[in-house]
């Protein structure tokens, strides 16, 4: 942990409830609550979208109306009232360039620890910042343009590169995929679009920061990332929301396309507001993330999940091409009354496809943390290989940790391994650390960090530090 000492952590823990629980006073434009065709037309018109995209939205809306909310996940929550949500909220001013950005908005970003000025210079991370529904600014555009890399907000992409958006939108997550994907397809407001041309190795990490600011809004962003043949990109995503009493809805769709020989590394640090100690408020995080791998390509998902009242999320890989590789590394922490049902799906279609799944769950407080994963080997996927490991760590006697793996194999040359363990944080381990002069809190932080190391190591450096901090904060006073 470079530049971050235990004493600093201690200071932080003292003051920390939910660090990102501030709201930003920015004049914003919010359309009335409710969802109907008219609202979708308004969203589309506001964004000056072409006819085909409006068609796409309306079609999705029709599909969504006929679907029912899924109930199979191991979570209990009050269903969102879809007619009481505003489906579009945007900061009123639109900016031409980074320098025009409202100082207050810049301050928000500073608080979030992603000061663009700083990052531009120091870390070389290009950031797309999405507040509520609209992408605010994207830094580093010019430098990326030199390499013909397109990294911009989704709306810009629709205007500037409609052929690419049209070609790939909805190809990985079809409209009818599930209830929330259909909802997103109908009302998605903005998000990021990224295209890496043939053979280009993206020289810096691309990053998006999502934030729900307005109350009574839902965030429905759409991310589409296309890595053309032989290219490489590492993409980071971070999420926060202000502290509010009501439950906010976040239903995003992320689609990744890795063409032949391409590699995509997608990292998420999710820190939506988890609700207070009584389980009041918090974000409902119902996200569909999926990538498709063509021949010899690789998609790697890494996620650190600490926030949200209810999480329902399965970043998946469709291993369509021969020799393609899918990876999933996850740390999911739940505390207080949080509920998480997360995991992955690895669909093996091509020959010699490989997948690795490492999932580490930590439950504390009165939370419920479930891993739900599917490994599916299709009849033509010769020599498919999967390794799955999901461990759960229990911190109190009131929380729950559950494992629901689905392993479906239809090819006799496949080699599949799955193992899962559930256990308590070792008292002897804590005792050992205490004996060496560490406080209980520090000992736990040490053990948890060691437990998650396999996953944290996969994160890019800047994110790893943030993730470690988040883990410590999320588990503060959690040992029962």
């Amino acid at each position: 942990m470079a530049g971050y000492t235990e004493d600093e952590l201690k200071e932080e823990l003292k003051s920390q409830e939910y660090e990102f629980g501030f709201t930003t006073d920015i004049e914003s434009e919010k359309i009335p609550v409710g969802l109907n065709e008219e609202v979708i037309r308004i969203i589309s018109a506001k964004k000056e979208e072409p006819e085909w995209l409006l068609e796409y939205r309306l079609n999705a809306f029709k599909v969504w109306q006929e679907m029912t909310e899924p109930e199979w996940a191991h979570v209990q929550y009050e269903k969102p009232k879809f007619q009481e949500i505003s489906y579009f909220a945007a900061p009123k001013k639109q900016y031409e360039s980074w320098d025009d950005v409202d100082p207050e908005m810049k301050a928000t970003m500073d608080k979030l620890g992603i000061s663009m000025d700083e990052q531009k210079k120091l870390t070389g991370v290009a950031v797309d910042f999405v507040m509520d529904s609209v992408s605010v600014a994207t830094s580093f555009k010019d430098k990326l343009a030199e390499l013909d890399i397109i990294f911009c907000s989704f709306s810009e992409a629709v205007k500037d590169h409609p052929e690419l958006v049209k070609k790939y939108l909805g190809t990985v997550v079809p409209t009818s995929d599930n209830f929330y994907a259909a909802l997103n397809s109908a009302v998605f407001s903005d998000g990021s679009f990224c295209y890496i041309p043939k053979g280009v190795k993206c020289p810096m990490e691309l990053s998006t920061y999502f934030r729900i600011n307005e109350s009574g809004t839902g965030q429905f962003e759409r991310t589409l990332l296309v890595a053309d043949a032989g290219s490489y990109v590492s993409y980071l995503e971070g999420c926060t929301a202000p502290q509010r009493d009501e439950n906010q809805l976040h239903a995003a769709v992320v689609e990744l396309v890795a063409l032949d020989d391409a590699e995509i590394k997608y990292s998420t640090v999710q820190n939506w507001f988890p609700g207070d100690k009584e389980g009041k408020g918090g974000v409902y995080n119902f996200v569909t993330k999926r990538g498709i791998c063509h021949t010899n390509s690789k998609i790697s998902w890494t996620q650190v999940e600490t926030g949200s009242a209810v999480t329902w999320k399965y970043p998946s890989c469709i291993l369509k091409g021969d020799n393609s590789i899918g990876e999933f590394y996850s740390v999911a922490v739940t505390n207080n009354y949080q509920q998480a049902d997360t995991g992955t799906k690895m669909i093996h279609l091509g020959k010699n496809t490989k997948s690795t799944v490492i999932s580490k769950g930590i439950s504390a407080g009165k939370s419920q943390n479930s891993y739900r994963g599917l490994i599916q080997i299709h009849p033509k996927a010769d020599n498919a290989r999967n390794f799955t490991q999901c461990d759960s760590l229990l911190m109190t006697d009131e929380c729950g940790a559950h494992t629901f793996p689905y392993i479906e194999c239809q090819n006799n040359s496949a080699k599949l391994e799955h193992e899962a363990t559930t256990s308590k944080i070792g008292e002897d381990q804590i005792f050992y650390c205490q004996q060496r002069g560490l406080s209980e809190e520090k000992a736990i932080s040490l053990i948890v960090n060691g437990y998650c190391k396999e996953v944290l190591n996969k994160l890019p450096m800047e994110f790893a530090v943030e993730a470690q901090k988040l883990l410590a904060i999320s588990l503060e006073n959690s040992v029962g």
């Binding site: 109190t396 559950h402 494992t403 793996p405 392993i407 194999c409 599949l416 799955h418 363990t421």
Partner: protein, 411 residues
């Protein structure tokens, strides 16, 4: 009631006994599960539910010598108890045959069953007589009691029911063999209810050798009291659709629960094992090991579920499911589940799917063993771990003989 279910049971009539009347009424509100039901996700009942079935008592004297592996045995043909074919001493096991009119006498009877389950409800409504086996307190039985369930004839439905109560500090073993004699397109719907008292040890060994057009669904409801040890071994070597639902409620502390399974297929079988261990109290151990060897176009399903209830601390639960796919068309669906609501636990599961090790086959070939035999040897060793856990050499020998007869494996 759906037409399908109505049609399925149209040739069966309900007795006047209140117990069965009530079960029939319950059944009226149920329907066959579909693959949309999570509990039946991987198993299609289409073929079974289309069968036109009726019940029939078969009076023939059957020669079952090959299948008898114990001194005490009971024979049930098409759901009817055949005392003329059975042989047992009443000293070791208190055996009784109960008609449905006597059901109210048994405190535990029908209590634990899932009232929404269509097959066990069907069984409650239509069984002929219950075999009730009681093992007296402190009774230690050296030899096992065997129950042989025979399907004879075509398009037969048998609803067989077994009730076992093992008394305090008793020790015993029950063997159940499901076989067929010139039978096709038949269905056996079996329910076993078991009450294991304090300090009791009970072992159930099951062999399922149905015809490849016959189906078998068993529901086992087990209740364990404190300090008891319960073990259930299931061997399935044939059958069109074989489904075992084992539900174990561990209600007393310091219990041990073991479940083992060996499944070997070669044709079009669907073999589905659902196990559920409900750890309601602290300080218990459960251990599960299922091995599948699937050939032909067969499908294997394993769904093992362990629930550790809130405040059930110091639980050690382990599930293992290993699978070998021998043919290009065989399929396996494995779903080991852990649901933990307590914290001081050690729970884990492992599931592997793969094929025979080519190096091992090659090694055996270099030692002069033909490829075919080398494969059989390796598969035999793979399921051997389960077969050796039977703790009954006669049963073990019987399974080995059947493996040779049905699957052509030499020992």
């Amino acid at each position: 009631m759906s037409d399908k279910l109505n049609n399925f049971i149209k040739n069966l009539d309900v007795s006047a006994a209140k117990f069965q009347q009530m079960a029939a009424e319950r059944l009226g509100n149920l329907d066959f599960p579909t693959t949309k039901d999570e509990y039946w996700k991987y198993t299609r009942l289409g073929k079974l539910t289309k069968l036109e079935l009726s019940k029939s008592a078969d009076p023939d004297r059957l020669n079952l010598t090959k299948h008898i592996i114990s001194n005490d045995y009971l024979v049930v043909v098409n759901g009817f108890i055949r005392e003329d074919l059975s042989q047992y001493s009443k000293l070791d096991f208190e055996i009784d045959f109960l008609g449905s009119d006597r059901m109210s006498e048994e405190a535990y009877f029908d209590k634990g069953l899932n009232k929404k389950d269509v097959f066990s409800s069907m069984n409650s409504a239509f069984f002929e007589k219950v075999i009730s086996i009681k093992i007296g307190a402190s009774k230690i039985n050296e030899g096992p009691l065997q129950i042989i369930y025979v399907s004879k004839g075509d398009h037969i439905i048998s609803n067989t029911r077994l009730y076992i109560e093992s008394g305090k500090s008793s020790q015993s073993e029950i063997i159940q063999t499901f076989i067929e004699k010139e039978s096709t397109n038949s269905f056996t719907n079996h329910v076993t209810e078991v009450y294991v008292s304090e300090n009791a040890h009970l072992r159930i060994n099951k062999a399922q050798l149905e015809d490849d057009t016959n189906s078998l669904i068993t529901t086992e409801q087990i209740h364990q009291e404190k300090n008891s040890v319960f073990k259930i071994n299931t061997v399935t070597l044939s059958g069109a659709l074989v489904r075992n639902n084992i539900n174990i409620a561990v209600a007393g502390q310091n219990c041990e629960t073991h479940m083992n399974g060996a499944i070997v297929t070669k044709n079009n079988e669907t073999i589905d094992n659902h196990t559920f261990v409900d750890h309601r109290v602290s300080n218990c151990v459960s251990h599960e090991n299922y091995k599948y060897v699937l050939g032909g176009k067969s499908t294997g399903v394993f769904n093992g579920r362990v629930v550790v209830q809130k405040d059930a601390q110091v639980i050690n639960a382990y599930q293992k499911n290993d699978n070998i796919l021998l043919s290009d068309f065989a399929k396996i669906n494995s779903k080991p589940e852990l649901e933990i609501y307590a914290d001081d636990v050690k729970c884990s599961h492992g599931s592997t799917t793969g094929q025979l090790d080519e190096d091992a086959i090659f090694y055996l070939q270099t030692r002069g063993i033909a490829e075919d035999n080398a494969k059989k040897l390796l598969v035999r060793a793979f399921v051997g771990e389960v077969i050796e856990s039977f703790e009954n050499e006669h049963f073990e020998k019987y399974i080995n003989t059947q493996l040779e007869l049905i699957h052509g494996w030499k020992n």
